[in-house]
Symmetry: C2
DNA sequence: AATAATAACAGGAATTATTACTATTATATT
DNA sequence: AATATAATAGTAATAATTCCTGTTATTATT
């Protein structure tokens, strides 16, 4: 069973309170302010565990591997190829696409992801 | 300007003739059968160059980073979480989604990707 | 409250994928 | 043929992630 550790709690808190989509290392440095001797392995271990219980999501589109967020509701992402920021795209959800692809491929589909790449308004100036 | 090298040609040939979505290392081992002393760095360098001229695409959804294909027409992918195979999903293309997201976000969008994960028919047995 | 079992930890080593470096070779141009 | 330099092989370096091991902290049980 899962025990509660201070490390796990702070890692999740850090993720819940940021609106960005940080890397494991950013989380590590952030948690370090509160728990100076936390180890990077602990961050990775907990990010994985928190994912397995649905508290944390890892983004997986458009070269954004290794970016995490404490937000498990389905949504997509867009990345600025100039400044690197990753923003949520909340406006659009493709509700029916998994069923469509299931019928077309014969796969049992468990999830899907959609990612966009481009230039953000600020970088367009 | 680009010169023609045997290495580059064979790397592209290998990618064009496979229907899988191989890793750089698989390409390396495959090319090695024809050019035994090719170096892995050459494979990476050429994969990147071939991408830049649109001859090669790197997949970027659902944890499939680092998989390549010699096929640049827009299509999506589905990965079997059990056996790891990556298949093309040719049936569906979201033509209008980039415009929709551009309007919603203010980004200038250059491309998008869609990935599915699930269990393939064979692994469902 | 004390004891016992073990999940979780810190710190460091190991692994893997990718990129960078450098002296040499091959290609295109004159 | 001579020249300029893109591209290469081979190796070293970097970065992200996982693994390992001895120690600590949490929970359940007494
Ligand atoms: Mn998000
Ligand atoms: Mn494909
Ligand atoms: Zn930007
Ligand atoms: Zn399968």
């Amino acid at each position: 069973m899962h025990r509660h550790s201070r490390q796990r709690k702070v890692i999740l808190d850090v993720l819940k309170r940021t609106k960005t989509h940080p890397s494991a290392d950013w989380v590590y440095r952030e948690v370090k302010k509160e728990i100076p001797n936390i180890s990077l392995g602990t961050v990775y271990r907990n990010l994985k565990l928190l994912q397995s219980i649905g508290e944390v999501t890892e983004i997986s589109c458009e070269g954004n591997e290794g970016r995490f967020e404490g937000n498990s509701h389905l949504h997509y992402h867009i990345t600025c190829q100039k400044c690197g920021q990753i923003k949520d795209v909340d406006d659009i959800i493709l509700h029916d696409i998994e069923g469509k692809v299931a019928r077309a491929t014969g796969f049992k589909i468990t999830n899907h992801c959609v990612g966009f790449a481009g230039i953000c308004p600020a970088c367009l100036e």
